[in-house]
């Protein structure tokens, strides 16, 4: 598992795809999440594109693509029940699965220990 400074996690699967979500810390900071807009399957994204909109009881936030790639699958369950992201941000609250076009940025991202230090 890798982590970005934007509080996303990226998990590499056995088939080479990556699953992306936000960290439990980010979900807690956002507060109760009431709305999420995900990309569509088949969408192509470039790193740093605004690909997800999250709204909590407090405010709206954009989530940036951490990698270039193509969306293979989205987690439709969190669209119907955004509270799942608060309940299990790093498990059932995953956002989408990506076929990465370029894994080079992964070298820059933090491991768990570094992320923990980052959020203090």
């Amino acid at each position: 598992m890798k982590y970005t400074e934007e509080h996303e996690w990226i998990r590499t699967e056995d088939d080479g795809s990556v699953v992306i979500g936000i960290t439990a810390h980010a979900a807690e900071q956002l507060g109760d999440i009431v709305f999420i807009e995900l990309p569509e399957e088949g969408d192509e994204m470039a790193k740093d594109d605004e690909v997800v909109v999250i709204e909590s009881v407090k405010a709206a936030s954009d989530i940036l693509a951490p990698l270039d790639g193509e969306v293979l699958e989205i987690n439709a369950a969190i669209v119907d029940e955004p509270g799942k992201i608060n309940d299990d941000a790093e498990g059932d609250g995953w956002f989408f699965r990506l076929k990465p076009a370029d894994l080079a940025p992964m070298e820059e991202y933090m491991d768990e220990a570094a992320y923990k230090a980052f959020i203090g």
Partner: protein, 371 residues
Amino acid sequence: MSDLKRTALFDLHVRIGAKMVPFAGYEMPVQYKLGVMKEHLHTRASAGLFDVSHMGQVILRGENPALSLERLVPQALAALGEGRQRYAFFTAEDGGILDDLMVANRSDHLFVVVNAACKDADIAHMRANLTDCDVEEITDRALLALQGPAAEAALASLVPNAANMKFMDVAVMASDFGELWISRSGYTGEDGYEISVTNDQAEALASALLALDLVEAIGLGARDSLRLEAGLCLYGNDIDTTTSPVEAALEWAVQKARRTGGARAGGFPGAKRILAEFDAAAPARRRVGLLPGTRAPMRAGTALFADDTGGEPIGIVTSGAFGPTLETPVSMGYVATEFATTGTEIYGEVRGKRLPVQVADMPFRPSTYKR
């Protein structure tokens, strides 16, 4: 946050895990450990305790303070019975609204509660215009709100006589926490109370209420979603100096005695425009409830359109959030009068997309006042 003021409950808030934010010049709790959603639902299911000590508490004394205050508001206060409270608003010469307030008749004086952000201006306004009254700002008292279906049981366990009050009654009651000034009212659409208590007893009273299983501490976040579901205006968002009472759909709060043909018609700032809007010239826009057609909340500032493409805005959202009780987003805002009919389908532009939204009656959730 060194320039911010603190209420008498600041230490309690911090001790029980509040997240403190700047609000109207005060450090106030926006939420506690439960979080906004659960705090909202707890208030609707049981009872929530709010610190609203940032609001202004003012006593007006004079020969006939109710009649004097009628010079500044379009409400009939001279007719307000002893021990009763009424919603009112200060109007401006152009017919806008300077602030909204609660006015209570406490026999030989009026007790007035005004918004925190406006209180200095309100007090100056009263002192300048009510030279026949003594305007005393009460600074040695905190103000708590206890709201929800279990509010009566909770307060009555400490102050039994509070159970005998009805909606908009006010009373002074002796208690273990000194003299309490209690009103049966609030800002959530729920039955409940607002309780003025001396600063030195405020923490003891709040702690005694929070010790009850029925009661949880509730922050400003849930206070906002609760009042929005109840269709209640937030001054500065839904009403302000640019909105008239009729535009704001607040006709219900202007009694007949102050309208054209009434016993004390007019005689308040902006009467010419305000009464004209009652009598003939319907204003060009109206405050309405809005129910978004998707899960995307339509927040304050969202532009409203007649169609899904093109055209100029026909209105704007002034408050919007997710409504935890309704499990759907809810908003209110102003639309051109021709679109103000309940059920009219319009569009709100959210992140560049026109999303459907329906004009709806308020309150979104029926209020449960004990009348």
